[in-house]
Symmetry: C2
Subunit: 334 residues, 2 copies
């Protein structure tokens, strides 16, 4: 299964808004359809968004043939459809660099990015599982947040690829998946992926993770990232920072697994990153059912910033980086 | 409004399982009805549970007249209906001390406890608001977790009584109420109480609180407690500890507001307290709608332990205590 691909002249995605109840593939044939899919989180996850951005430019190159101005506006709208993950704008920008060479060249670049992300997942799984083995000794009890599996990438995943690799190696002693309010990517998507892969797991509410660590039930925390800044600050799904605080207090390794495409040496630190606020509706209602009273407002930052000092290591497809030594010109640990 | 009271020979409670959609008063005329109401969280909150325990013994004294053995078994079942809050067993034990004097004496003791809790709420509101004023200077932006208002006590509340007192004084600059998964006491109950009191507020998911503190949006955290141990460890709703970690990192005061009836000098520390696990169903469904796949398990500790060193102060109805100086024989700060 691929969460996003280019099939017969259009983007095809697994619609993540209806999982786990229904597995539906959606075809996106226009830029507007793609932007709607990005905004509604039908496609999500930093690596998948990078591919979506690049393939979106391929769509734009076909849709606006002969109107370069309209085409360029479309590319700009794609790049800005979600602000926090570095991959979306970077993927769009990379593909847009080939616009002068025609739609075929743009598509080839988008497909190259897709293939790179697939290979990156395999590399991260190996490197991440090796590191967990080193840090934890025997079989590890993992806590993970949000969804970082196939659905967040093209196939395989980032942090969840490490989990499934540990399972394959017989080095996984348990998984706690935090539900990840407000949109429940953990409960809906990670649980679904782990179930399909035959990996036993337990769900936990987001507020429970730090206490489960304090109580000694977690050996390592594995999360993904939407952007890793030059100083090592990690921007990721809301709730990541609270889990990092819990890990630091409990002395549990906190590992971030993300491809090189998510490393952002252009952004100095997390305070420079625009944190998307997705409004009140996601918080005060669920699946159309209101929870809070009708008049309730909400603070709904979709992401947070985990300062570099709380991060034990960032595992990419080519390196293992340690906080404070991340960024251009810094030597990798291994 | 009173969350719990004794009316015409029976316990009357506001049924908290159906709020905020419906405001329903339930009459509890038997011990079994009371125990079901406690287990289903129709009545909840440490001070309210203390009153429920005492009034439950008054019910038992009437229901099992002439069968002391059955009566005593009923008292034991009431005391054990929920294990974590100290108040339930303490309230039952206190009322049971009058069983030899007949049902009237037991009821009089239960009503005395009720009246003490009402007075305690008033005292905590004043003392807590004074302390917030001292710590924060001008008007304060408060974050609160779970429900600690009238619904958690008899009337008034603990931490939420401080919030409404700050509002009355014109010293409240904002409230963030965390939703409190899995049972959404924040979104359902705190939001409803704040709305009724005319206090503006915003909801946040439980994972967002620490980041909102890091971003400078919170001046003080106010929570209640189910049990404050002799060493100052605070046992409270799951998610409290994560918020305390966030407050400590951000340098935001973390205040626990709880009556003297919640102070437990008999229990040395949080590691001695039985933490209720309420099972998978609450976690894998959201507000009655299944979220995770049917086979999902869950870790569902209903409470957590906040170590004393993360607590700025514990405000009771008679004292302000500082971590490390809590417990028998320790001088209060004021």
């Amino acid at each position: 299964m691929r969460a996003i691909d280019w099939v017969d002249g259009a983007i095809e995605i697994v619609d993540q808004t209806v999982l786990p109840a229904t597995l539906v593939t959606r075809r996106l044939t226009t830029v507007d359809q793609l932007i709607e899919a990005i905004r509604s989180l039908a496609v999500r996850g930093a690596p998948a968004l990078g591919v979506a951005g690049a393939m979106g430019v391929a769509l734009a190159a076909r849709e606006f043939t002969g109107d370069a101005a309209a085409r360029d506006r479309a590319v700009g709208r794609i790049a800005a459809a979600r602000p926090t993950a570095v991959n979306l704008a970077a993927g769009a920008s990379r593909a847009a660099g080939w616009l002068a060479d025609g739609p075929g060249a743009v598509l080839a670049e988008a497909l190259a990015l897709r293939d790179e992300e697939i290979a990156a997942s395999v590399a991260m799984a190996t490197r991440g599982a090796d590191l967990v083995g080193e840090l934890c000794g025997g079989a590890a009890r993992v806590l993970t947040h949000c969804n970082t599996g196939t659905l967040a990438t093209v196939t395989g995943g980032t942090a969840l690829a490490v989990v499934t690799e540990l399972h394959r190696r017989g080095q996984l002693a348990g998984v706690i998946a935090s539900e990840t309010r407000p949109l429940l990517q953990g409960a809906r998507l990670t649980a679904w992926e782990l179930g399909r892969a035959g990996v036993p797991y337990r769900m936990a509410v987001d507020g429970a993770g730090p206490f489960l660590m304090a109580r000694g039930e977690v050996d390592v925390v594995l999360v993904g990232a939407d952007r890793v800044c030059a100083n090592g600050d990690v921007v990721n799904k809301i709730g990541t920072y609270a889990h990092a605080l819990g890990a630091a207090r409990a002395g549990v390794p906190f590992l971030v697994v993300a491809p090189e495409s998510t490393m952002d040496d252009e952004t100095a630190g997390g305070d420079q990153v625009e944190i998307e606020d997705r409004g009140r509706d996601e918080v005060i209602a669920f699946h159309g059912t209101a929870v809070a009273p009708p008049g309730a407002g909400a603070a709904n930052p979709a992401f947070d910033v985990t300062p570099a000092d709380l991060v034990t290591a960032v595992v990419t497809d080519t390196r293992v980086l340690r906080p404070g030594r991340i960024g251009a010109g810094q030597p990798a640990d291994r």
